[in-house]
């Protein structure tokens, strides 16, 4: 088993644990934490593929940087959405949020 395979298996592990948490968690914040796990797994897989294959290493590392930037943007938006949901529903349980009104 090559080094690349090992790194990518770790990435798959992080992604799958993230999916597990995403389905199992009850609150929006818990789902958000699981989502960050998934993004980390994807980033690790991208960098491993960039560094350990014949592909261009610069492009791969830039892709990982862009993933990080998008994750930061997504985190701020999630914070705002959770804030609004908590203000309106007094909790952040995903099952209880079924009303969509402006």
């Amino acid at each position: 088993m090559t080094d690349l395979t090992l790194f990518q298996l770790v990435g798959v592990f992080l992604f799958c644990v993230g999916i597990f948490g995403l389905v199992r968690r009850k609150t929006l914040v818990g789902m958000f934490i699981a989502l960050e796990l998934m993004i980390n797994g994807a980033g690790l897989s991208i960098v491993a593929a960039a560094q350990l294959t014949q592909g261009d290493a610069v492009t791969g590392q830039l892709a990982a940087l862009f993933v990080m930037g998008l994750a930061a943007a997504e985190a701020t938006l999630m914070l705002a959405i959770i804030l609004v949901v908590v203000k309106r529903f007094k909790h952040s349980k995903a099952d209880g949020i079924s009303q969509l009104r402006g």
Binding site: L9, V12, A48, T53, L83
Partner: protein, 169 residues
Amino acid sequence: MEILAKTTFAFYCLIICAGSVLAVTSGSLVRALVGLIAVMIAVAGMYLLLAAPFIAFMQVLIYVGGVSVLIFFAIMLSRASTEGDEAGPVSFRKTVNAFACLLVPAVILSLIIIQHPATALNVAPNVAPQLLGEAMLGAYLLPFELISVVLFAAMAGAVLVAWRKRGGK
């Protein structure tokens, strides 16, 4: 040196396993966040093992320094206490569903990775940060500018969404 690298890899793997399990199963969201931070730092260590020190530095700076603080704010502002929403027992059906969702990508991706391994290099190339900067301002100028626009839109939208609700109450 080979032994040392393998040992370090196993150590980081251990931290990632323990931290991610803590992050998805802990009843307290603050403990889950601590597990997530451990995972992020271990992934930064993996980047160092892959000879990508700049990415590792950015991982610590953005995730450990920025995103985790945002998550902590979300925990604080949603008033999630240890007796709060996440603490009660999870229904058996939900856990079974979660395992089913976990198994499908785990089996498919692992089979593909193991059965069709890409031709791998033994030693990762060391990319200087200068090359990254030149690529970012050369061939990838448009994505670089676009991501700053996306960040600005996200931040402005977050402020707008949170602020209008407060004014409307």
